[in-house]
Symmetry: D2
Subunit: 370 residues, 4 copies
């Protein structure tokens, strides 16, 4: 069993999400990380590469894309894990070099960049995958199936929320690196909570329901004194087919760590799921008692296709994230059509969502199309 | 210990909330139900009174108000438990007769009625109490205290929801009495879920936070085919002091029985409570681990003032409702100032809330002042 | 509707369980408390009676039994809510007087007393009811039905526990009245936790499973320094038909308020219930997903026979206790055969259980028959 | 960063725990699996090795131990993941070859084997590690610390249970491989549930409390018709310092997937943890409200040393298992003293525990020393 060769842009010392991508790529033994441009600072890039034991370290992603494409056994895919405003450059460079791209969300920071990425995708033979990783949770995929086959009937209401509390205080003023770029509108792309976690929430809602949000009305607010981006967002949604939705994204909801929760109600049934307790999901069919589905457990279809261990032995965030990487390997190796993988379309929806939220909120909650 | 004498208007055979009021009045042994006009149908009134063993049964509330006021040992208070559109008449009649009124919510069906009630209150020596009963839950009162003394800091976000599923199907077309009048805009006062349960939700949020909603943006919808009132409402709120809120009321959220839930977040801490599990509440102070407060249990002030049994022996809905009746007895007997009791002001806010929701929803979510 | 006339022995000022019985008797409006010998101290008895507004107060239960039996409209039943070692006297006196007895558990303090009670029962026309109140919870009765109709198959394992923490410290040495008599082997009857709460646990297990414990092996211990009765008991059970069981009773398990929990597993299915969250129960059928049954909610038979309000509005401890009183009223009024009511047999089993535990524990866990 | 070279014995096609070890070894990128004798069937061994892309496949573990020890870059450690009765052979062979051993639990099948393993350990320079993996959960290690520093005071009661339901029916008769060897007393070593999962439970209890069980009284039973080993075990424990304990192991408790739960109560506080929801733990200090500690979250020391991702993003079974492998790497590389790693001593306790349970149960629950 040959492993696919992977490169990485970003993710050097002090970064967070780069490490997560490495765990996810490694878990199922389908990928081997061999090359990287781990930092825009060449010295940190080199030090980070040595720490990780990478075979090949580059001082810039441009150099890396050219060199790897030219090698016989160059990387087959690259993970882009830079801050949002530094996605577009490497994404385009590697696509142009014919190397598959696995990009952290959101897609990029501006709609101009998004269009350039689209052009690159269209002219490239390589795949573009966006790590909306929460769609990798087995029960989320089972939820999607349950709805797709009509168990809940016609969907009426869908609610999603992603609540955190780590920005309750303005730690961006104290040099916290993760907080600093996320609360800088230039680096984040304008949105705060709405971009950082609200896009995940929207993606999850649309993935599971199979419905798209057509329009939204948003109330964004910055509670952190002097903060330039939203840290709390209340959004109402109008979905395909007349369904109604809400989305709440917050980074100041004290007591919430990563409270990503989804609730969907149709005219026959409803389901509820919470990311912090991801191995179970409740499903209610009107007139019957509520059921607790467990990951890989009995009942209503099964989520065992995307799991590694038996029910009752919990899987978590890394396992869900790893499903994205393994699906990507399947796609690249021609073993699947990648239909569950998020990509450009989902990325663009995230971008549109952020812009629509910002516009609606500026206009006193006026409904905006997405 | 002498018991207060109580009358009742409405609540005859086939009614729901009348029985609840009787349980609540009886529990703490402060009240004795002695008279009633239990139905607008005289025969049913008489039969219902006999079933309950009432000493005095009247064919109409008008007659009852006059007669009881004239008696030496007539009732000291009356419970009004008729459908919404039949509140104003008896409320005014008994106030005018100098008899205290304990009225089921909402206040009444129209703003004209509300003004007439106000006039009656102003010219009467009797008290007017509205049974927003969820404020009687001990932990809800403790939550109010926790916030009042600043444990959570300045409130930023407050969210309340009241989700049911009993109107998932259009059972009003099958003769279900409770469903029929609640989905008839004339009898309900125009609102559906928003009036029936949304007003409870708003009241709870305002009671606990001590903040009033200043304006709202609402998206009401009727999912039940042919249904004339809303059965799902998504509402955004702007609260005193810049706090943001949301309110969700639904009667079609499959799997929810009486899912009244409250979450409040300040710049120091947050708390969460659910009516279906009312004997516990979680409180998080930023930077510390979350705590589980229990009814009458240890920690952060105490809710033991309004409880009957030790922690770990659950109290429920009837006990919370009974707190309203016992507080009313205290007020009437001069043992307290009744500052925790909901009354006209809360009722009027409920009316304004319904009207503002209806107007905002008609105007595509335009913000309306309450 | 005429109310039954009730008397009470014990339950004066400073008592706990007497108040609970009064709430329970009052809730459904079937009983009227009219007479009492509320304390063995005549002054306190009188003061307590006045506080409660009792029509007739007696200085002793002996006097009360005689007097009430002689009255035209004397009490029809009496509640015995004295400490354990003072049960037998009044129980026998009222039975001999032909007055129905509703006695708090346990039956009494010694086997000699138990035999005398049995004699009195046999020679009396009156009913004897023992308030093993937890059997009044609607879902507990539904659990009994579920098992009786074979939904779980043949029962293999049944586990019950009742964990508290209020005796973690030796508050009996600080004059806490409830703690003092419960930790005095003379007044409690020898058992500590095993008698006070362990008997409830055994009763619940036997009520729900329909199986009796045939033998037990016990390890009792007193962790409180100087304490003379057990405050923690680990018991293994052998049940009818080869099923195995465990029972844990503790009053020093820090963090447990009234943690009465039951789990039953058969060869087809299992169920779990917790008294602190009594409005739901989980049921698993092997090979299917677990279901959450709610009080009066949909699915697997129904518990709505013994409830007052719709699902989702929680009922609690007092409501469950009230079911015992209302069942007793039904029995006395000839409306039911009282087959669900606990009585002498259950009381004797509790006595035997305590004695067997004490003996087994003294003999290093040797199995004892019950 | 050089990876350690790992071999594996057992874990070929159709096995379960071998795959888990491979995930665990891979997750933190400290190990590289390069060699294996994956099956006692040479053809399956070869096919399995090819499927995994192993560099070196052996037909027997004897051959493998000799060959790898002789190589310049032979494996530094080996994972033994064969059925219980096939542990001793390879363990001894690799220890004798100077290769570190990471062995799945239990230690082996007989006490004779255990003594031989001890001899091998004493005469070898290599480490012996037993994968009692549940001790790798971060909150379990935090629990151990909490108790060690005295937060709960002197421990009084400790209870552990491991409940499953996968052997509710006799699937061993239908050719289910995992069930077949586990219910064969020769291959399992005599114990059923008590050995397969009871040893995990005991280990967890002793690891967290820092107390050893001195004696036990056991009631083992086989509910599966014709089953030769226990499928349900109720055990009472006497622990160091006078603490009392219970242990329940079951594989027929319908509705339990991997219900490993621990509760510990001291004279100051208590804690509770459940493996199926491993990212949180409740801690109660007497007289205060209960707290919810989360993995890597705020409060009472911290579990962040052994985690990979922030609180609120759940980790699971594989991450806990991986902590054992990473600790082993630390030990081998001289970066830690491995004091948290389970080894021979823990394995021997497991063996003694099984034997004591079997003996006690045969003798009607007579207390046996462990």
């Amino acid at each position: 069993m040959k492993k696919l060769k992977l490169g990485m842009v970003g993710g050097g010392q002090g970064a967070f999400i780069g490490g997560v991508h490495r765990y996810a790529a490694r878990l199922d033994n389908r990928w081997e990380l061999v090359a990287g441009a781990l930092s825009s600072n060449p010295e940190r890039a080199a030090a980070s590469a040595e720490e990780l034991g990478l075979e090949r370290s580059y001082a810039s992603y441009e150099e890396m894309a050219v060199a790897e494409a030219a090698m016989e056994d160059g990387i087959e895919a690259v993970s882009i894990v830079t801050p949002n405003h530094m996605h577009a450059g490497p994404v385009i460079a590697f696509l142009n070099a014919g190397i598959h791209v696995i990009c952290d969300k959101p897609l990029c920071a501006t709609t101009v960049e998004a269009e350039e990425i689209l052009k690159a995708i269209k002219s490239s033979s390589a795949h573009f995958i966006l790590t909306h990783n929460y769609t990798g949770y087995p029960l989320i995929r089972q939820a999607r199936n349950i709805i797709a086959i009509g168990e809940l009937g016609k969907i009426r209401v869908a609610q999603v929320e992603y609540a955190q509390d780590w920005l309750t205080q303005c730690i961006e003023n104290e040099g916290q690196k993760q907080a600093s770029w996320r609360t800088d509108p230039v680096k984040s792309g304008g949105g705060g909570a709405i971009g950082d976690i609200g896009t995940h929430a929207l993606n999850l809602l649309e993935f599971v329901t199979g419905l798209e949000a057509q329009a939204l009305s948003a109330e964004l607010h910055s509670f952190g004194p002097g903060r330039l981006v939203d840290d709390n967002a209340h959004v109402q949604l109008r979905l395909d087919g007349g369904a109604k939705g809400t989305l709440w994204a917050s980074q100041i909801a004290v007591g919430n760590e990563n409270g990503l929760r989804l609730r969907v109600y149709g005219d026959r049934g409803g389901l509820e799921w919470s990311q912090e307790d991801p191995n179970k999901m409740t499903v209610a069919i009107h007139g019957s008692s509520k059921r607790i589905l467990t990951r890989a457990g009995a009942g209503l279809g099964s989520s065992s296709s995307w799991t590694r261990i038996p029910p009752g032995h919990p899987e978590g965030y890394l396992e869900g994230f790893a499903n994205i990487y393994s699906d990507a390997a399947d796609l690249i190796e021609g073993k699947s059509d990648g239909s569950l993988l998020p990509g450009y379309k989902e990325g663009l929806r995230g971008m549109s969502f952020i812009q629509a939220c910002l516009k609606s909120s500026r206009n006193d909650g006026k409904w905006e199309f997405i």
